[in-house]
Symmetry: C2
Subunit: 247 residues, 2 copies
Amino acid sequence: MPTATRRERQREATFEEIVSTSRDLLAAGEELSLRAIAARMGMTAPALYRYVANYQELVDLVAFEIDKAATDLFRAAADRHRGDPAASAMAAAVAFRRWGQENPREFGLVFANPVAESACLRRDLITISHSCRFMNDLLIDLHERHPIPHPTRDELPPGVLETVVDPVMPVDLDRLTDENRGLLWVFMRVWAALYGVVTLEVFGHIDPRLIESGVMFRDMIANLLTPLGLTERAEELLALVGEELNR
Amino acid sequence: MPTATRRERQREATFEEIVSTSRDLLAAGEELSLRAIAARMGMTAPALYRYVANYQELVDLVAFEIDKAATDLFRAAADRHRGDPAASAMAAAVAFRRWGQENPREFGLVFANPVAESACLRRDLITISHSCRFMNDLLIDLHERHPIPHPTRDELPPGVLETVVDPVMPVDLDRLTDENRGLLWVFMRVWAALYGVVTLEVFGHIDPRLIESGVMFRDMIANLLTPLGLTERAEELLALVGEELNR
DNA sequence: CAGTAGTGTTAACGGGGTTTACCGTAAACG
DNA sequence: CGTTTACGGTAAACCCCGTTAACACTACTG
C-alpha cells in the first residue's frame, strides 16, 4: 500500500530522519535542540517547521518513538522465556528497570513528563503507548496460563468501574471478557508499583546502595507475586529476577 | 549569635531575597530564569553570580527551600491529629499528595530531578531534606506509640544492613536503638510506595479518573497498613484518608 | 508551458546563561 | 585621618535557544 507520490515518500523519509536524528542526539548525551537536529541532517532549524508545529511536538514524537524502541527491548527480554508468561513478566520488569537506569534522560522524557501540560498530541499518543500495551498483553498471557485473582465488577473499589469498562490505556479488549475486566484493576496496581519503584530509582531519591543492590526493586516484585497469583512460584521467580538483575 | 558585620548581614539578606523571589516566580507560574529573578529584584542578571555559582546551583537551592516550605504544610496536616501518630501519618501522606498535585512544577523540581546529575550541592542537600526527616520522625512517633513490626538486623535482605547502620537520609538516630535499625528498612519501603504513587499521579501516567477519585492512592495506603502494624485500625484510618482527600 | 504548492534558505527578533571589563562605595588598614 | 582593598553592582558582549518572516528554488499539476 506504499503507493504514494514521490514527494510524499520523500517527506515521510525526512520526517523519520528527524526523529531518528533526535534519538541519536539524545543517545550521544547531547542536548536536544532544533538547531542541533537540523545541523546533523545538513539543514537549518527553520526547515524543521515544515514537519513539526513546534519544539514540544517534536519532543512528544521523539518520546513516542523512544517508548516504542524501548518496548522492543522489553519484548526481547520477555522472549527469552517464551512459553512461561510469569518468567516473561519478571524479565520484562527487570528490562524496564535497566533501561530506565541506563537511559535516564530518555526515561524522563517518556515517563516523567507531565502528560497534562502538553496539550493534545501527547494525550493522544499515550493512549497508544507501546510499552503499556505490551505490559498489558504480558499480564493477559499470564492470566490465560495461570488465572490471576481479580475482583468482580461489583467488588471493585468505587470509581474504578468506569476505568475498566472504558479504559483509556491501550489494551487488547478482545482477550478480556466482560467478567475479566477486573483484571485491568490488577494491571493498573501492578503498573503503579513498577513505575513507582523504577522512577524512584532512576531519580535517585533513595539510598544509592539500595539501587545498586536492587533490593528495593526485588522487594517490590515480591510484593506483586501475591496479587498476581504466583505465590507458589515465588522462590523460583525471585531467583529468576536475581539472575536477570545480574545479567 | 547574629553578630555579623553589616556587609555580611546585607549579603545574607539579598541571598534570601533571591531564593524567595525565585519561589514567588514559580508560584506565579512563570519561568525561572536568572534575568527574571534579577528584574524582580531591581537588579541585572550578572549580579546574581556574586551569590550563586551558576543557574543549576540556584535551582538546587530553591528546590531545597521549597522542600522545606512544603514540609511545613505536611506538618500542619499532621498536627491536626496531634497525639495520634497513625492519623498524623495518614494526614501527612495525603498532604504530600495534594501538594504535589497542586504544585506539579515544584514537585518535579524537588522530587523528580535526577540527584546524581547535579554534582555535589544537591547530593549534600538531600541528606538534610526536611521532608524526609519529617516523615521519618513521624514513623518513629508511630513506632513509639504502636510498635511497628520490623526485621532484626540478620533478617534484613542482603544489601540493606549497611544502609540502616549508616543511613544517608536524615533521621534522628538518637530515637533508634541498634535493635530498631530494621525500622529504617520499613521506612524506606513505605517511602518508595508513597513516592511512587504520588509521582505516578502528578505526572499523570495513569487513567486520570483514578487520580481524580484518589482510589489508587487509597489502595496504596491500604497496602501499607499491614507493614506498619495498623491492621486493627485499618477501617478507621482509611476512612480518615477519605476525609483528608476531600478536604 | 504557466502556475502553484512544497521545501528549503537567510535574516532577524526576543530571550536564555554566562563572561568580561569596568565602576562606585563601603569596609579595612596603617 | 587618608589610603587601599574588596565587594556588589553595571553595561556590553558572546553564544546558545525557539520562532517568525520574507524570499528562492524545485517539482508536481492543470
